[in-house]
Each structure stands twice: as C-alpha cells, then as structure tokens.
Subunit: 345 residues, 4 copies
C-alpha cells in the first residue's frame, strides 16, 4: 500500500516517516508540506540520514489522489476539513491526526476550536480511531479521526470505570501533564528552552480543546457523564503524557478489584499494560513506544479511585496510533511495525 504523508515537517509527520520507514507492509510514496519544496527531509531532520531520500513536495491534491491508496494528515486544525472530502471522493483512505473529525457535535467543535466544523456528511463517515475501543470493521472504514494525545491517555484510563458505571459520573477530575513536544515544532515563548527548562507551567485551565473530545467519548460509553474538569500542565521533558484522574466510587470497591477489572478489560490489548497492585507507571517507561501504561488504586479514606495513565504523546498519542489504525484498516496484526520496546533510560 502506498501512503502519502501531508504535514511531514512537523513532529507528527516526522514520526510517521520514522515508523513507516521500517513497516513491512506499506511504503511511503511521498511527503508533503507547505514549504521547503524540493528539499530532502534530512535538511530538517538530519537524524534521518541513511534512510532514503524523501523530498518534500507541495500539497497537490489531484496528484496525491492519483498516486496513493491512503493519505495520512498531520496538519493543523482546519486543513483536513478542506482536503479530506476530496480524497474520499477519489476513494483514497484518510487517516487524520488533526482534531477536525474527532468531534461529532459541530457546535462544540466551533466553540473549542474557534473555526467552522467540517461538512456533516463527510464528518459522519469518520470513525474515532481509539483502536482498543473501536467496534467497527476497520477494513471498511475510509476516514479515521485519530484521537488526540491527551484523550488517548485519558480515555484508556477511564474506560473501565465509566463503562462499568463504577464512578459518580459528575465527579471526574483529570489533572494532565505533557512533555513539550506536544506543543509541536513551531516556535513560541512557551516552548523557549530558557523559560521551560527547570520550570513547571499550567496552561489552558478549563479551556483545552481536547475537552469535548473526551466528554463526547465518555458519553458514548455512559450517557450520564457530564462535564469533566480537565487541566493541563507543561513539564520540562520532551516526550510523555501522564494523566492523573480522580473519581468518586459509587458504593465501595478495593484496589485489588480495580486492578483485576483493568487487567481483564485490556487482557487482549498488546498496547495497554496494566500495572500490578501498588505500582504506577512513569512516562519514561513508555518513551519512544506505542504503549499506554496504567496504574489504578482506591482510597478508603476518601472513597475515590485514582487512575494514572501514561503514553508517549508523539507515538500512542499520535503517529503510532495512526499506524495502529492503518494496520487495522489493512486487516493485518495491529502490532505490525510497532512491536518495539520503549527506550529506557
């Protein structure tokens, strides 16, 4: 299968190139961006030397559609809204790493993203691609909305509790932390080394655009879920997301039971690893990999459950998950090209 990557110069695109370079079943046909046309990608990313001579091409939709079977889009908000319909019309599959097709409620999209939602007809074809929880036959899907980095960690961590209705649906508080690569390759004062190193920042308090994506998905699983509290922090590290999540247990439970529930839930999911009683993951333990590691505990004193979920934001939170979705769309083992260990230390 030939793939085109649009938005190849950002971190999401760059990681797609890296992951697909060693993928046995697909090949990168071309890479595209809005600048640097004709230049080898190694000019921007010298670490890619010795892995071919991909050169950046313009985003010529016609040409792309005529040459590949699948387009992966690692583009800013609003781009896929415009381009995806065209590819779909030409029977080219689209995996969209942006937020454009993740949210079904178009008013919510506009409220949180500040731009118009995509066409409803097109949007309705989109499958929200959290692979552990999609029940669609992915080989028949043409448009995948690849989940956001925060939602991936959060939803995998909350799914067992929310689906089993074990926690008070109005009690959910999510305190999330990300490494700085989540902010992308674009320059900003917030990601200037001297002001970020040795510093912990909080940002977008109650205002992160991933909020509706989290809420909509939780509500699909359990319609009683209302608004969640969602806070995001910027940690002086390059990769990694940790979501620490709190909910009040209905009735009573024990940590043993919770760990058992989580282990059973994800028993067949290679990429979700549930820690034993009393153990919690750190972000480095999934660094450079497609894993989501989860720890869970119950506190008798407060009757609250705490779930800790970690991912590599650029892999399970973006490009790795996109490849996992791609594998499912092709109908091959979801682990193909992704079954490598985290890099530690």
């Amino acid at each position: 299968m030939r793939i085109a990557i649009i938005g190849a110069t950002g971190y999401g695109g760059e990681e797609l190139v890296r992951l697909l370079a060693n993928h046995p079943s697909v090949s990168i046909h071309s890479i595209h961006a809005t600048s640097m046309h004709g230049e080898p990608l190694t000019n921007l990313y010298p670490h890619m030397h010795a892995f071919g001579d991909l050169r950046i091409e313009p985003v010529d939709v016609n040409k792309i559609a005529s040459e590949v079977e699948c387009v992966m889009m690692a583009t800013p908000s609003g781009v896929s809204t415009k381009l995806a319909p065209y590819f779909l019309e030409k029977d080219v599959k689209v995996i969209d790493l942006s937020g454009d097709f993740r949210i079904k409620n178009s008013e919510e999209y506009k409220k949180w993203y500040g731009i118009d939602a995509p066409n409803k007809g097109v949007a309705s074809q989109a499958v929200y691609g959290l692979p552990e929880w999609t029940d669609t036959d992915m080989t028949k899907v043409n448009l995948v909305a690849n989940p956001g980095c925060y939602p991936t960690a959060i939803l995998l961590g909350l799914a067992p509790l929310v689906q089993q209705q074990m926690i008070d649906e109005s009690s959910i508080i999510i305190d999330a932390k990300t490494g700085v690569s989540g902010a992308g390759k674009g320059l900003s004062a917030a990601t200037h080394f001297s002001e970020t190193n040795d510093n912990l920042k909080i940002y977008k308090v109650n205002g992160h655009q991933h909020t509706p994506e989290i809420e909509e998905t939780l509500q699909r699983w359990n319609e009683s879920v209302g608004s969640v509290t969602f806070t995001t922090h910027l940690v002086p590290m390059t990769r990694g997301i940790m979501a620490t999540m709190y909910g009040t247990v209905k009735g009573h439970t024990t940590t043993e039971k919770l760990v058992e529930l989580f282990k059973e839930t994800y028993h067949d999911d290679f990429f979700v690893r549930v820690r034993d009683f009393g153990q919690f993951p750190s972000t480095k333990e999934v660094y450079g990999s497609n894993f989501c590691d989860i720890g869970v505990t119950f506190d008798e004193r407060t009757n609250r459950v705490t779930v800790v979920s970690v991912i590599d934001n650029l892999i399970k939170g973006a490009s790795g998950q996109a490849v996992q979705n791609l594998n499912k769309m092709i109908g091959i083992d979801e682990k193909t090209g992704l079954d490598f260990m985290p890099v530690y230390p």
Copy 2:
C-alpha cells in the same frame, strides 16, 4: 542572636546557611551534622567558598545549648523529638524544619510517619509556623514547627476558600508536583539522574506523610473538612512545587470574585502574590525566593474552583520560611534577609 544549625549538610541546612550568611540581625554560630566532623562545609558545597570557614561539628547538645540562643533543626524525622526538649529546657529556642512537631494528633503522626510521636507536653508548646496564618505573638514562642513544603503551598492556596467555607469540604482534591530537591541530598534510585531526567513519576499515591498536616490545619480553619485526596508527582526539575487544587463551590461564584477574595486576603503578606484574572504562576517564577504565587479560577461548566499555588520547596517550603519565622520570633520585619527577587530564567 547566635544560631546553631543542626543537619547542616542536607539541602535544608545548606539553604539555612546561605540565607543566614547575609542576614543582618543574626549570625551562624555553628553548624552540626552526624558526619564530616571538622571539615569545612565548602568540601561538600564548593559554591560557598568566600563566605567564611564554617566547619561541621558534632551534635553536642550541651555545648550547643550553652552557646546559642536559637537552634534550627533540618534533621530527619525523629531527631527533633529527642533533642528539642533538651534545648527548650535550657531556654534555647527551637525552629524545627522536620515533621516532628507539626501534627497535634499523636496517633496520626505514628500512622503516617511510622515512628512514635514526641512527648505531648513538649509538642503542646509547638506553634505551627505558617507565618501568614499564625495568630500567636511569635516573640513569645519557643518551639516552632516549620511547615512542610507541600503543606505550605497547599494551605496558602486553600486558606481563603476553606476559611470562608466556600467549597464543599469533602470535595478537596490536591494534585501536587515537586522538583527533585524535595527528596533531599540522600541518594536513591528515585533521584538517580538517568531515571529521573526527561521522566515524570507519581509516588506515594494517597500515602504521603504530609497528608495529616494538611488535614489538621484545614480542620483548625474549618471543622467540616474531612479527608482530602492528595497525590504527589516528581517532576524533572531541581526546585519548585506546584499544587493544583480542586473543590466544588457551594452555591455560585465567579473568577473575578475569587481573585478579589485572594487579593484581599493576602493584601498585607509580602510573600504571597496573587495573580490577576486569567493568570497562573509557574514554578520558575518563584525559583530561589521566599514567594508563594497563586492563581485561581472558577469553571461554570463544572462548578469547580481551581487553585494553583507555587513555591520554591527549599525556601518558602523550608529554609526561607524558617527564617521568616525566626524574624517574627525576634520581632523584626518578616522580610529581613528574604526580600530578594526570584532568579529567572
């Protein structure tokens, strides 16, 4: 006033030496530790060269008591329990940076610290020295329990809400993050650079020994407060604590009102700086200083308030606050020797 510092080789002790070196009203008479006797402190801390020739002495209680008016103890749990009574008996004032005298309920102390609580008669003399909220005449106090690093950030952030009974007393969730210096100078796998750098860890979930200190103080302010959820994370940075705190508002409020409340509450407290509407502090903005910076906001969607409070864990969270208490005990301006700006970037 002559001061002896016990536990001078740890970070708390080292910072006491640094802060008192430039203090105009007191002098360091001697420094003490359980090892390195006779060696200059600069052997351990070369950054102190050119600031005198303090040498490490054994902890000879008799000798110390006969030579100084005040002892500052930056020692592990259990040491002050044993030594403080002796100094008090000799009319030597004690400022204790350890947790020994912070908790009034001796069963709680034993439960969380795992060792026996100090003698009740002695403990009852101890004043919990959170300077912004002590109503005692500190010039008459002989034993100060200097607050823990986490409780300092947390209590200053929650005080207005809890004292004014603005939030549901059972709804308090504290998601706290610390730099690694909070773990001290002792070596451990948890603080080994290669495993801590570029990594975010969670630790002591629902089990941190600062929990009873936080709860007891909140309950002194508002007896309806019950158990709080308190989680701690280790951030790859040297200094700094951020506490992100959540509570459900009783009735209704606005961010404007909350900011106003906090600004009024701390109007006369030099070391507490409340941010304007929509602004939140980062840890680096208090790095190397005695400030506690606070941001607060209200979320209409969830009816929750979020408070963000940051300190330098070694200064406002330990040695700086001890000097602030010392100043109040002497009866001089609490800012003396502490009115310097944070070091940024």
Copy 3:
C-alpha cells in the same frame, strides 16, 4: 545615582533590573525597549511582582540623557554604536553590555560582526571592563565596554598563564560550553525546548564573534599570542558557561605551582575563586552569582596545562559584571549589591 536601562526586556536587561533593585547606592530611574511601551515589566516577567511598578518606555535619547547620570545598554549589536555618542556628549556615562565597543580593531569588528564598527573617536574612549584586569581609574571613565560572556570566563582563566608567558602562545585551544540563556530571549529553532533538551549541540565552529575580543585582550597582555582555536557548544541547561582551555607549557611546571600562581594572582579578587589541587568547578557552583571559579592542572604525559573556568553567563558574564563596573565607576566597593552566594542545588 539614577540609572536608565535600555534593552530591559531581554535577559541581560532583566538581570540588571533584578540586581539593581536591591542595590543600596543606585536606583533604576527608567527602563526602555523598542516595544511594549507603557506596559509594566511584570507582564513579561511575573517573577518581578512586588518589586515596584517599572513600566517600559520608548528609547527617547533626549529625555533619558536629561534625567539620568548613567545608561546601561543591554541591546543588540549596532545599537550602542549609534546611541552611546549622544549620551557621552551629554555627560551621561554609558555601560555597554553589547559587543560594540569591545574590539579596538575596526576591521576585525566588521569581519566578525558583519556591521560597521563605531566611530573611532568614541571607541577610543571605551575601557574594556574586565574588572579584575582594568588598570584605569574607573571613576574617570565614561564609556565601559562590558566583556562578553565567553571572554569573561576565558580571559580570567588564561590571564595568569598568558601574562606570565608560561604557555606556547600558538598552542591555545578553547573548548567552551554555554547554557541556553546565552542565546537570549528571542525565539529560534536552536533554542526550541524539544530540540535542545537532552541534546548537546556544537555551533559556530571557528566562527564565534567573541574570537577577536579574546585575541585582542590576550595580545594586550602578551603580544606573541596569535590566533586561538575557539569552539562553542550549547548544553541543555539554562545558565552557566564552562571554558575548558588547553595550552602547551614552555619548559616545565607542576600542578602545585600552577594552583599557587592562580591563587596568588586572584588573591584580592573576591569574585574569582581558585580551586585547590585536583579540584575543578562545575557551572552550578556559580549559578545565580557573580563568581568565576577556576581549576587548573598540569599533565606530565603531554606537557599541557588544562584550565577550567566557569561563570553564570547572565551575571559575571553580563549584568553582574556590569554592576561590578558600575560600582568601580562610582568608587564604591566592587562587591556592593553583588555579594550573595550562588543558588545551589
């Protein structure tokens, strides 16, 4: 003495504000920059809250000259060339933190900086303000060229050897490393956190603009010195410069003799601290201070001497040294306002 700071929004200017805020003998009259006019500096630097209400003013040369006795310029190359002559004409002293007046040879200036050198008449008034090695009566000086960050560490480390003609003048190799704040507050790909964290880069190999400043000064001390090899690296830390310097010894020496020479040379210089035999400084040991710490050793096997010199690039390498020069111009103790310890850890 009233001071105006031009270029107050960059790190050099910000540190001047911080250092002068607590200086007993001078006061900041006004701060100036090319943008953000009317805004409080705390909008850009919230860590400065509680230290007055300095607002950013335009660079109105007439107004400034009529209101202050001294201007400190923390501006990009070329600005002081234009503004300094005007201030000098109005009998306002100038301390220039930029490179404009450091290099006497105007062709060298143009070659390395790529812009025209300042007027020779004005430039000839400039004194190169490395306080440990100025033999001028600074109270009579009107224009000080404050040394660059690298040259400060390097020249203090090489001075004893070069002045005493102990090393082969053509053998000098300087391998220098800096923290990222040396690149300033301006955004660039080179200082983007995700690409700088956990990464070590080399830059401007054989091409750093501080080269002629180093060579000219060494040649003033010893006219046999020719071209030096000077390499610069970017280390993933915020502050600090380390220069590791190599030279071949003429004849023979011992480490003991070298340490003794350095200790004697800097015996009366508070801000230069020479380490004992076998000891070398690390950058954190001068963090946040005006110290330059130096270690030196001799290798029998290669007949080479190695000198290691560290400073905080923003303080001894810029603003602190400027205040040290200011103190000497006023005729007060050079330590005034600068005699604080490094912040460690």
Copy 4:
C-alpha cells in the same frame, strides 16, 4: 544462536535485552546478575513488560557454558578477566563489554584500571571489536573486546586523519562530553539529579581509564602517535556522547578535502554518517540508534582541524556495537536488528 547475558541489570545489559528481543537470528537464553535472583527483569525495568518473562539467574558458569553458544558480558572491570577464560575453554564465544580485554599492554591496564590485567594467553585471543576497523574474519573470533563508549566516538572520528598521517601526531586534544547514563545505574553523588540537572561538570581530567585504549588503537594505526590529551565532561542529559577533537594539520588542507576524505573512508559503513560541508551533528540526532555521526572542518587561521563525533553511548558506545559484533561473528549483515532510526526529538 542462544545467548546468555551476564550483568543484565545494568544499563548495558538492559539495552542488550532490548536490542536482542527483536533480533531475528538470535535468542536470549538467559540473563544473569549477582542479585535479584528469581525476579523478573520487569521488576527493575517495567518498560519491558509484554516482552516475555526473563528472570534473573545467578552467574553459574558451568550451567551457562553448557546451554549457550555465546555469552555477552556487561559487567564491571575485572569480572570478565575471571570468567571469560572458562567460557572460551568450553567453546562458548564471549563478547565482553567491559574494559578487561581492550588493552594489550598489561602494565597500562593496571596503571589506569588499578587492578591486574587478564592472563596474557587469553588476552591475546581478544579482538578489539570496532567493527568499521576490524580486518579480522570475525566469524573465527571467539573473544571480542567491545570498545568503550568514548573510544568508539573518538576513534571513528580520528581514524581518517591519523591513518592518513594528516595531523601532527603530538597535537591531538580530545574534549569529550557524555550524558549521565554513561555512569551506569549505580547510585553516586555525581549522578544525583539535584546536583546534575542544569549543571555541567568536568571529571577525571587527564585521568580517564579510556585513555590507553584510545592511544593503543591510534598507535596501531600510526606508530608516531604519542600521548593524547583527553578530558571528559558530564552533561545534564541521559544519553549521548560528543567528542570534539583538535589536531594541527601537517602541510595544508581544506574543509572540502576533509569532508571528501571522511565520506570516502566511511562510504560502505552504514553506521557512520559524515555530515556535509559546514554541518555538525548533535547528540540527539543519534539518540537511541547505532549511528556515529561526524562533522569535520579546517581553520585557516590556526591550521587546525576540528572533528566532531557523536554516538548514543549505550548503543553504538556499548550494546548496539556488541550486537553489530555479534552479527559479524555469526556472519550475517551487520545491520541485522540495528537498522532503526534515531528517536527525535
């Protein structure tokens, strides 16, 4: 081929496990260490979950020798000296990641390592396994001395110049910098996060035990090489080595010629990537990979060449290179199991 890894709990051993886990031609038969017997390796390294259930076994030489065809030793100095002879006698191949068999001159070994050198008869069988420069038929070799991390970066960088006799053999100065994982998993004050983060240290000046390994190899290539100056620095990052190397050119050259020489020299070596004119590598560009990236330039002013060489110290500097040697011993493509891209950012 069945492999046993001795010293599996250190970083070198852990990386061997990671790399071999996905190797198509060999399998890890057993892992061994001096403690934690019976425990799964995931207790120490949770990032390895989902990749089998390797448990740590004692170092029972007889049992190991009877069960595997190859032993890889990632042990402290002195262990291989004792164990390797036994394995060799039993026709088990040994790849030794320690320094024991790297140095032919046993007096030099003792001088720099402080312990006795291995038996000469055994040592003489050892091949120094820098794969780009071994001319032996590796399929016939039974004992490989895997090069040290610093020597790997340094020797690959200096080889073209020294072999071609282009630089004055007495002029070589090596200024090397390493990430902290080079110091291993053992705890020490030097690797305590709070004292290492945001700090640059120099250590073992003129005294690093890799010195004789570098000199011996250079002398094998060019007998005129004498003592080199070799300095090592500890950079606040986890992985990566950069060696900045200086030499005085005999006669004259140009950067163009040097780049051409290096490109030709390594034309057929997949793992050595030479940068174009004016380009230099940073350590992150080889992070997590087996590459050695090199930049080279000539300075007309000083007649010196500067070579910059970077590797991931745990991979090309240890375990990756060991696997590369293993591949050559088996007689398969040296890239097998190693042809993955660096992880960036």
